[in-house]
Symmetry: C2
Subunit: 369 residues, 2 copies
Amino acid sequence: MCRFAVSYRIFAGSLAEAEDRAAGMALEQTVEIPRDVVPHGYIEDEILGRVEAVAAETKGTFLARISYSPDSVGDDLPQLLNVIFGNSSIQKGLKVVGLELGETLAERFPGARFGIAGVRQRAHRPTGGLICPVIKPQGSDADTLAAIAYACALAGADLIKDDHGLANQSMAPFRERCEKLSAAVARANRETGGHCLYMPNISGHAEEAAEFARFARDAGAGGALIMPGLFGFDLTRQLAAADWFGLPLMTHPTFLGSHVLSETLGFTHAMMFGVLQRLSGADISIFPNVGGRFGFSADDCRSIAEACRAPGGIGQPIFPSPGGGMSVERAGDMRAMFGDDVVYLLGGSLLRHLDCVDETLRQMRSRLA
Amino acid sequence: MCRFAVSYRIFAGSLAEAEDRAAGMALEQTVEIPRDVVPHGYIEDEILGRVEAVAAETKGTFLARISYSPDSVGDDLPQLLNVIFGNSSIQKGLKVVGLELGETLAERFPGARFGIAGVRQRAHRPTGGLICPVIKPQGSDADTLAAIAYACALAGADLIKDDHGLANQSMAPFRERCEKLSAAVARANRETGGHCLYMPNISGHAEEAAEFARFARDAGAGGALIMPGLFGFDLTRQLAAADWFGLPLMTHPTFLGSHVLSETLGFTHAMMFGVLQRLSGADISIFPNVGGRFGFSADDCRSIAEACRAPGGIGQPIFPSPGGGMSVERAGDMRAMFGDDVVYLLGGSLLRHLDCVDETLRQMRSRLA
């Protein structure tokens, strides 16, 4: 059995302090009892976290690598996250910067079902950036939203996603919206010969999530949008693993910001929006783009894109999907920054030009091709 | 229909800047499109967030109160959280400090099923602090854990909880552990005439959570431990609302630390471990105690206890449950700090004194009574 390892950045005054903290985390994340009462044998030798290395990184920061037993995890993603950063998330000056899954857990957590190659195949877009308009606003009825989706699909969108604020509200309840938008996109596909994929937002109560996903599949949706910050990362894993679902998954960053925005807490951007998304089985990972309304830097965004696509990462490479601030004018710059293996979200600005959405998408395509 | 309101602390250089940001959040959390394309009528008048007030708080901080329509939410807790702090969670310098649910949402989100009064009734402990040993460590087999639980129940524990690191690992799989510990606690109760409640950790895959809860109920468990940071807050709501379950719920802070530990991000301690737990239906809210291994101050802890127990809060008042650092020696101080309506967790230190657990609990009881 091959142990897995997590790397943490520890903010500490000295190497000795960092070593103490690492030893504390090795206890905290596993047995959660004082060192002197850890039972000898299997628990001490195998279950107890093992500090593999602690080294200075910069002035005031240290990198600690702690290995854990796959036995601590079993087969469950929530418990894997619990070992990676459960109670330690409540300690200050500690950030998760790396995860080496190892062979044993790599078999238990295979990652994305489709990845970049599989989504490209389904969308019949073998090269170039994919364009994904976002359907909104909340408060519209399902027919209005379906008309927008139809126009976007007709104009050549590769994917179409619900705004993450479209849940199961009475104005456009999930089932009605899902049926009408799936039908609208299918009609556009028949007319154009295209293969646009509609991804409804799995919402409602937690216990309805699988039922909604099945409904989406039966209604002809081309995938689904998941909000792991609200429904837990394991919903992505569940749907990625489910043969009865078998469609691409896109994940949204809502409610996850606090995990990355502090320098000294949570996860790095690459870990949260790259590694953890691959681990849970997302095919497309949405994150807020630099220069929009959010606090991500260009380097943060590049690190996410790299983590999503790195060949040596968990499972297959997946699509990074920067959201916010996309327009025809910025398409060239964004392509220069992110490249081709990207799903480009096209949000609120689209509503300004609904009457000429086909011209907008045509121009955008030419700049992304 | 009564709107609900969220109060945010905004870190900004001027009132004008804070007002701009508040206006941006009112869009971001609802329609998520530029202000000039918000459709007139229902969406602009009702759905669009409404900035009710922005006022200076301290130098560099401002308080903004934004009201939202219950229509934005529907009946679903994940979507309520999405409106309270979805995309805004990805913005810097923004903290949720208050929630006024209003009459309409108060009917949709009734809060705890048991609360302080109901848990006291089930535990037959009408006054004084409740004592809750934590069963560990991970890696032990179910018989070993059951023996510890039996000793604790025999010694007069009010509640017994699984360590949150006991998931569905092969050493003590959920079902086997749940059956053996439930039986052990039931046997102790028969022998003492006591009413100790065993609360197993609902773990495994997300799609197994309801099934595990039902199994726990059938096995004779006295409640359940939930990890909202890993499984989503809606699991608490689901089980609190489920007549087929009908047992008290305890929530654990694992994976939630990043939401509170930064001064300028996420939620206040009182919001996360008080208000959101009451909102989702927890009866007992665990948080890391001051002076232990975690970064919470005495004021942070007091604010949580107050939010859990405030008479005017969501649903019934619930038990705050400080974890970490409890011992016979500290019992008097903790009682002075937190008072009587508290579930005191007793963790790793217990394993040092397993041979005299009844004496430990007897001394602790006398200091908490």
